[in-house]
């Protein structure tokens, strides 16, 4: 596939991700910060986000598995994930976090567990979408083009 086609794919894919709410304006902010001095900035932020999210999701699973759930702890973890997803523009993940925190406030274990499942799902989705996006960008670079639109 040539550069022009790849770029068209990238544009279409990016529009889709924004349209379906996977990503929001904050992601644009990060892309604008990327430059020749830091050509992998967005991918680097994403990597940190993935590592951090996986850590938090594990903690959440552990904490919700206890006989007596410490909702303060759970809430603190969700708050962290809400923050980092917001910083990268992972809008759907962020939105589940908000609902999750409400269940924490209500001390509703069922609700929290459902949210955790949803969170895992949304996180897996945004991770695969972002990886696909970065892969497209790499293909454009390899084909001699520049991914910046």
């Amino acid at each position: 596939m040539d550069v022009v086609q790849l770029k068209r794919q990238l544009i279409a894919f990016t529009e889709l991700l924004f349209g379906e709410g996977f990503l929001d304006e904050q992601f644009n902010q990060l892309q604008q910060l990327q430059d020749e001095n830091n050509p992998n900035f967005v991918a680097e932020v994403a990597t940190l986000f993935f590592e951090d999210s996986e850590r938090i999701l594990n903690e959440l699973a552990n904490n919700l598995d206890k006989q007596s759930v410490d909702f303060k702890k759970v809430d603190a973890h969700v708050h962290q994930l809400k923050g980092s997803s917001s910083s990268i523009g992972a809008q759907r993940v962020q939105r589940v976090c908000i609902i999750f925190r409400n269940f924490c406030n209500e001390r509703n274990v069922e609700g929290c567990l459902k949210c955790l499942q949803q969170l895992k799902h949304e996180y897996a989705l945004v991770k695969s979408k972002l990886e696909a996006l970065f892969s497209l960008e790499q293909q454009i670079l390899a084909a001699g083009g520049s991914p910046s639109i």
Partner: protein, 212 residues
């Protein structure tokens, strides 16, 4: 929860693009950024570096105090710490909150003049007021945008911070819409990204308040 180990990175001196001047004779703007989130640290560092600021990033209030030499352990203040022009700190952090860090900085004769900006994803008016009253320069809503930081560093670099501190501690300015018509309860948590920042300054900064 807290990330183990400080993330301490320092930038090499660069051109001072902020001033509209380049090259020699222009002092570097050194920002100390404090945030327990590894993602946010990466982003704020890039934001500041893209404005040619020298940046030191740490992961907690106690590391920030250590860096400034305010932790009581180290009586001699580090050379770098003397040249901090701005401190930007997250509000919600395990251990010491941004508010507690703010109080410690404002309580120190050596560092009380350094402008401190609080960043938070939660727009709780009582919290904002408390920070401003304690001497915070500004309260930025997260996620922090390039334009927020650019505006901030620009007016601080122009030395208006000195003028601002003469106004003393006061409440949120009346001209900010959100104080009058805030629909959100203190415990509400909306996902809207706020374009609003809250400032003690009365300088005519472009305030883009978007009520959602």
């Amino acid at each position: 929860m807290a990330v183990a180990g400080a993330v301490l990175r320092q930038n090499l001196p660069g051109n001072m693009d902020l001033c509209g001047k380049t090259g020699k004779g222009v002092p570097e703007f050194h920002v100390l950024a404090v945030d327990d989130s590894i993602v946010d640290r990466k982003v704020i560092e890039k934001l500041l570096r893209s404005l040619s600021c020298k940046v030191t990033v740490v992961d907690s209030g106690s590391r920030a105090l250590q860096f400034l030499g305010l932790d009581g352990e180290n009586s001699s203040v580090g050379f770098d710490a003397l040249k901090v022009n701005l401190i930007m700190t997250d509000y919600s952090m395990p251990g010491m909150t941004g508010y507690e860090l703010l109080k410690k900085i404002k309580g120190s004769s050596a560092f009380r003049e350094i402008p401190v900006v609080i960043m938070s994803s939660e727009r709780i008016l009582a919290r904002i007021n408390r920070c401003l009253e304690e001497g915070a320069e500004e309260f930025l809503s997260k996620p922090v945008k390039f334009s927020d930081v650019e505006r901030l560093t620009r007016y601080l670099l122009r030395g208006e911070a000195d003028e601002v501190s003469e106004f003393g501690k006061r409440k949120l300015p009346k001209n900010c819409d959100l104080e009058v018509s805030s629909p959100s309860s203190p415990s509400s948590d909306d996902s809207s990204s706020s374009l609003c920042s809250y400032s003690r300054s009365s300088s005519p900064l472009p305030k883009r308040c978007k009520s959602v």
